[in-house]
Amino acid sequence: MASTIRVRATSSGETTEVQALIQHPMESGFVKDAKGEIIPPHFIQQLTFEYGGKPVFVADWGGGISKDPYVKFAFKGGKKGDDLKVSWIDNKGASDTTTAKIQ
């Protein structure tokens, strides 16, 4: 299974711009299927971006976030060629991690 995370980080010297796309159903738990039965909630609870061992962006998410969410942010610092670690964990305990080189 390929990674569920796509990430691209580009440094402009002072700041680093990060874009990420995550594949996840993000079921809120309030939607019913065609048979009228509730689709159980299944969403990412925490998303973390780490640079140099320190978190630079932490998001506490819930069922209100759309399917296959997209995130874009910038942080101060970050050098070309350094690693940026991205990880998420969902309400069912599943998780995924990937590491991207800052460009």
Partner: protein
């Protein structure tokens, strides 16, 4: 008596000659002429949007609205159809249980052939769309067919479109009256009003592209299929040409046909043919 018959005969003959002269021009107006159709169709759009280049039309609503265009440029750096594309690539190369692959069902192993579909099958006498060809390929290899609307089918066609990006649509109408008939029926379907709203396909996509329907900017019919399949944010997922047709029908409060119904196949044939020469841009992303 004799003279009268002679006069009548000659009059009749004169009449026949007249008919013979008049007939071709009468038929010419009624005759199905796809080449002239496509030319007129393109001319209409080029004149309606004089600032756009022909290849801009394949980008649908983005070429009609500056703000949307900016958002799209940013989105394309990180396109939402990426996951489907990757899944499609994986599925496409993975062999069936009998060891064959999708590539074996298509010319050039299925790479860069999107622009040739739909094609007209002279054996069957019907239009074969890419989606139909894919499911037939599965069935011929003992696999169950996929849903025509989304998921696997969208991923597969996304990958096939991606390998054909930039190639101009090259739909051929063979010299077969049935092919012309399919084309003509597709055209008729396209311009026929239906549903409670009494809209035809052309009402939105010929008469009003660039205008808004609620919050959406309507795409021009020219080049609309070049971008299929699409990731629609509204669907939060991928959709095929079949999905686009069926939802169009239900949105005008009509009853959609079954996907890959003869009529949908014909309309896809017509609509692709008139966009001949415009590049494939699929898979696309739409708001």
């Amino acid at each position: 008596m004799k003279l009268r018959t002679k006069v009548q005969l000659s009059l009749a003959a004169f009449g026949l000659v007249l008919l013979a002269f008049a007939a071709p021009s009468v038929f010419a107006a009624d005759k199905v002429d796809p080449v002239a159709d496509a030319k007129a169709f393109k001319k209409f759009f080029y004149e309606k949007f004089p600032k756009l280049k022909p290849e801009d039309f394949v980008n649908g609503p983005y070429s009609m609205n500056e703000d949307l265009y900016k958002q799209w440029q940013e989105k394309e750096q990180f396109p939402p159809y990426e996951f489907a594309l990757e899944a499609g690539k994986e599925m496409f190369s993975k062999p069936f249980k009998n060891g064959k692959t999708y590539g074996d069902c298509f010319a050039n192993k299925g790479i860069g052939v999107r622009q040739d579909y739909p094609t007209f099958d002279e054996k069957e006498g019907k239009v074969i769309t890419l989606e139909l060809a894919l499911n037939r390929c599965r069935e011929a290899n003992g696999e169950p067919p996929f849903s025509y609307l989304r998921d696997e089918m969208a991923s597969l066609t996304a990958y096939m479109a991606f390998t054909s990006r930039g190639k101009p649509f090259d739909i051929k109408i063979p010299n077969d009256p049935r092919a012309l008939e399919a084309y003509e029926k597709g055209k008729e379907y396209f311009y026929t009003r239906r549903g409670q709203l009494n809209f035809s396909c052309a009402t939105c996509h010929v008469q009003s592209p660039g205008e808004r329907v609620r919050t959406e900017v309507l795409a021009p019919a020219l080049g609309i299929l070049n971008a299929m399949p699409i990731y629609r944010s509204e669907w939060s997922g991928m959709g095929t040409t079949s999905r686009r047709f069926t939802t169009c029908n239900s949105q005008i409060r009509g009853v959609p046909l079954t996907p890959q119904d003869d009529e949908y196949r014909n309309v896809e044939y017509y609509l692709s043919y008139v966009s001949n020469g415009l590049p494939i841009s699929g898979p696309g992303a739409r708001p």
